[in-house]
């Protein structure tokens, strides 16, 4: 048991520095096209591409939906105000739908 603990401590505290002193792997000296990389280093492009295009569309449609929702809310508020003015007998408020400054 003591030997096992000593082994773990040895690996933990001395393993790192020993590994760090190993000579680095042979540096790559020439350009390697990505389609010639080993499979472990290849990252599939299709999911990234699909995500990019999908994100663009989701964001645009979400924005159109928010504008449409805000427009609906403003129009509903406008109807309530117009009704209130009619009930009060004010008549038209003098503000027309084209009379925005």
């Amino acid at each position: 048991m003591t030997a096992a603990i000593a082994g773990v401590l040895f690996v933990t505290f001395l393993g790192g520095p020993i590994a760090a002193q190993q000579p680095p792997a042979e540096p790559q000296e020439e350009f390697l096209p990505i389609d010639q990389l080993p499979p472990a280093e290849q990252l599939p492009a299709a999911p990234l591409l699909v995500t990019a295009y999908a994100f663009a569309w989701v964001v645009v449609f979400f924005y159109v939906w928010t504008v449409w929702r805000r427009l609906g809310r403003v129009e509903a508020e406008m109807r309530v105000l117009e009704k209130r003015q009619m009930h009060r007998g004010d008549g038209p408020s003098g503000v027309n739908r084209t009379g925005v400054r």
Partner: protein
């Protein structure tokens, strides 16, 4: 302009329906292959953002110096679209970078400045939303500032050494790629103009509602 809205929507929808075909038919870039095709949405999104920056900046200046509410409505509408198209550029870029560079993000000059530009216009919208009375003028100053700094973002790749591709990529595109790219660029600018008109109609209705509330208060008094 109202008469043009529906034809513009139809043309833009047709262009975006055809865009995947144009992009698929464009030749592969020799080193990046499939992932390079993000470029056909990434760069046009930035172009639409820059169109928005010019509209917002000029309209902000008009509102700031001539006090025109219509210019203010145009500026705030454009600012929302700047944030929208900027978000598309900021998300599609790292998706390309993950494959091309091996990292999602690098704090290099171009990427950092593009993020800061997006944050400037988010600040514009926050000022408008929570700034209270007078925030329209303050926001107009922010919009003008955003327009003034935007050219630095564009030329940053030429001034500093960054890992981002240079601005010369677009003029040096091969003929097959060039057609698809400009097709997408026009589609994005048209999309920008449609969304701007849509957002402007909301801004107009909101201004009308404010006038109605004022009239209502005067009637009640």
């Amino acid at each position: 302009m109202k008469n043009l809205f529906i034809p513009l929507v139809v043309v833009t929808a047709a262009m975006f329906a055809y865009a995947p075909v144009a992009i698929a038919n464009a030749p592969y870039e020799s080193t990046m292959l499939l992932i390079q095709k993000i470029f056909y949405f990434h760069v046009p999104a930035w172009m639409a953002m820059y169109a928005g920056i010019v509209v917002c900046g000029v309209a902000s200046a008009v509102h700031l110096f001539k006090n025109r509410p219509a210019a203010d409505r145009l500026a705030v509408s454009a600012a929302e679209l700047i944030v929208l198209f900027g978000a598309i550029g900021l998300v599609t870029g790292p998706l390309w970078g993950r494959k091309a560079w091996g990292v999602w993000w690098q704090w290099d000059a171009r990427l950092t400045m593009a993020l800061l530009l997006e944050l400037v216009f988010i600040a514009y919208l926050l000022v408008r939303q929570y700034g209270g009375p007078g925030s329209d003028k303050l926001a107009a100053a922010v919009g003008l500032f955003g327009m003034a700094v935007s050219p630095f973002v564009y030329v940053s790749v030429n001034i500093w050494r960054t890992i981002h591709p240079l601005n010369t990529v677009v003029p040096s595109l091969r003929p097959g790629m060039r057609g698809a790219f400009w097709f997408c660029a026009v589609a994005f600018v048209l999309l920008f103009s449609i969304l701007l008109q849509l957002r402007m109609s909301l801004a107009k209705e909101q201004a009308l509602l404010d006038d109605l509330y004022l009239a209502d208060d005067e009637g009640a008094a």
